[in-house]
């Protein structure tokens, strides 16, 4: 049989990966096995995705596919290619992606450089901090009506992306 990774060479080894207690086996040629052993993240991602896809099929064949509303990429497509369709896919598949990213990268929170914050955004963040402390003060005074009003105002100011995160 041919290698399940490259589809070109003869498969010579059977590799077993265990992800979250679920094991999956793949027939590989020696060249592709080397990639896995070298700790290639892309190869690791492929192994995790195929394991998870297998698990999904076993447990619930009726699971509807998730579709990114912006570019139309489905989660099944991502499982096949390891490539996302657009930035919005990260939001659309957030729940499914989170364990995959944590497993591949070993961490789940970005550290390091960030895009510069615009003056507008800075003003928004300052205003939100103000509202938050006012809301906490209102709760402390048991002025729940005011606290609820402030909460709604805060919600309205939160961009959709952050709200989901």
């Amino acid at each position: 049989m041919l290698c399940e990774e490259c589809g070109k060479n003869q498969a010579e080894v059977l590799m077993t990966t265990v992800v979250n207690g679920q094991s999956a086996t793949r027939h590989l040629c020696r060249e592709c096995l080397k990639k896995y052993q070298a700790g290639d993240l892309q190869a690791l991602l492929a192994a995790i995705l195929s394991t998870m896809a297998g698990k999904l099929q076993e447990t619930d064949e009726e699971t509807p596919d998730i579709i990114c509303p912006k570019c139309g990429e489905t989660y099944a497509e991502f499982q096949k290619t390891g490539m996302l369709g657009c930035a919005e896919c990260y939001q659309a598949f957030r729940k499914e992606l989170a364990p995959v990213i944590t497993r591949v990268q070993g961490r789940s929170q970005h550290a390091g450089r960030r895009p510069p914050v615009s003056e507008e955004e800075q003003a928004r963040q300052t205003k939100m901090e103000e509202l938050r402390s006012l809301m906490e003060a209102a709760v402390a005074e048991e002025n729940f009506e005011e606290a609820a009003r402030l909460r709604d105002e805060l919600r309205a100011m939160t961009p959709a992306r952050e709200a989901k995160a």
Partner: protein, 326 residues
């Protein structure tokens, strides 16, 4: 350090917030990616050359890959792919590769910080005017989640002839793997690293700062360089004549052969560089490293000016080598 670390490179993967990634992007959107990048980078002080891949001669593209100015992956998307290369070749910005942008900083010797500064300067200039896809949790978003976070890959090219000869590469690989780094042969396929040249780079891009990633690669490179140095001394102490004999034989071949196939060249080049690094051969490291690129197939072809068959190519390569060394 430069006697073992040949060069350092830092690349950043970036995507525009509003454009789909490679799998979903249209031709018009790819063109928009190039347009806005060039527009935003127009005020840069130093001279750059803009190279769209479409319509470029095949050999020209191969030569750019050999010089590490573009990636082999960029060639797969030549309909829309383009590169912006600073004339001193220390910065190249690849457009419409796996990600919208791959920003590369490059320096000779061990200087990852300098390479990173080069890449950051472009990142800063672009972010002043344009928005990249960014998530508070996952950092800069990339087409493949294995690059998300910093989007940064720091790599150094190491020349490790004695660790290779003494069969220590398995051990060296383990050191790299333990630290989340990988070591690969740069030239040649499979297990055999031609020229005994390896690339050490980080795998993980999320959850560590740029500085942490760069420091880890730099520290590991220093450790490997130290190991290589020890094995060089050991080999010399064991049998100095045999050691020098090996170096001078390669030097003799390179300066006299009349036909030099690439694979043979890579093997002798490794001895040439080792001899230069130890001050045993009358050649500078700079000449060695320039020759490494100049003797690659597309570069020889380009220098010849006309299409050559394999035999003539090998003959012309030997001439180039002799001219560089004698």
């Amino acid at each position: 350090m430069s006697e073992i670390v040949v060069s350092s490179r830092v690349r950043l993967a970036r995507n525009y917030e509003d454009l789909p990634f490679r799998n979903k992007i249209t031709k018009e959107q790819s063109e928009e990616c190039v347009r806005r990048t060039l527009e935003a980078l127009r005020p840069l002080p130093q001279p750059y050359t803009f190279l769209p891949l479409k319509g470029m001669e095949a050999n020209e593209k191969k030569a750019l890959v050999e010089a590490h100015l573009i990636s082999p992956d960029l060639m797969e998307h030549e309909e829309t792919a383009a590169a912006l290369i600073r004339d001193d070749e220390k910065i190249s910005v690849l457009m419409n590769e796996e990600d919208h942008l791959r920003i590369q900083g490059f320096t000779l010797g061990e200087n990852l910080n300098d390479a990173a500064e080069c890449a950051f300067s472009i990142d800063d200039a672009l972010q002043e005017q344009l928005s990249f896809a960014f998530d508070p949790q996952w950092g800069y978003l990339t087409a493949c989640p294995t690059n998300a976070g910093t989007g940064l890959r720091a790599s150094v090219m190491l020349h490790l002839p004695m660790l290779t000869a003494q069969k220590q590469m398995g051990k060296v690989n383990q050191i790299a793997a333990k630290l989340g780094l990988t070591l690969r042969g740069i030239y040649g396929e499979g297990s055999e690293a031609q020229g005994n040249l390896y690339q050490l780079s980080n795998q993980v891009t999320l959850g560590k700062t740029e500085k942490e990633i760069i420091d880890a690669v730099a520290a590991t490179a220093r450790q490997m360089a130290e190991m290589e140095r020890i094995y060089r001394h050991k080999a010399e102490d064991k049998d100095a004549v045999a050691f020098e004999d090996q170096l001078f034989r390669s030097y003799g071949l390179l300066t006299n052969a009349r036909r030099m196939p690439i694979k043979e060249f890579m093997a002798h080049w490794s001895n040439l560089r080792l001899g230069a690094a130890l001050g045993k051969l009358p050649v500078s490291l700079k000449t060695c490293d320039a020759l490494l690129t100049a003797a690659q197939p597309a570069h020889v072809q380009k220098a010849a000016g006309t299409a050559l068959n394999d035999k003539d190519l090998d003959a012309y390569r030997s001439e180039l080598i002799r001219n560089a060394l004698v």
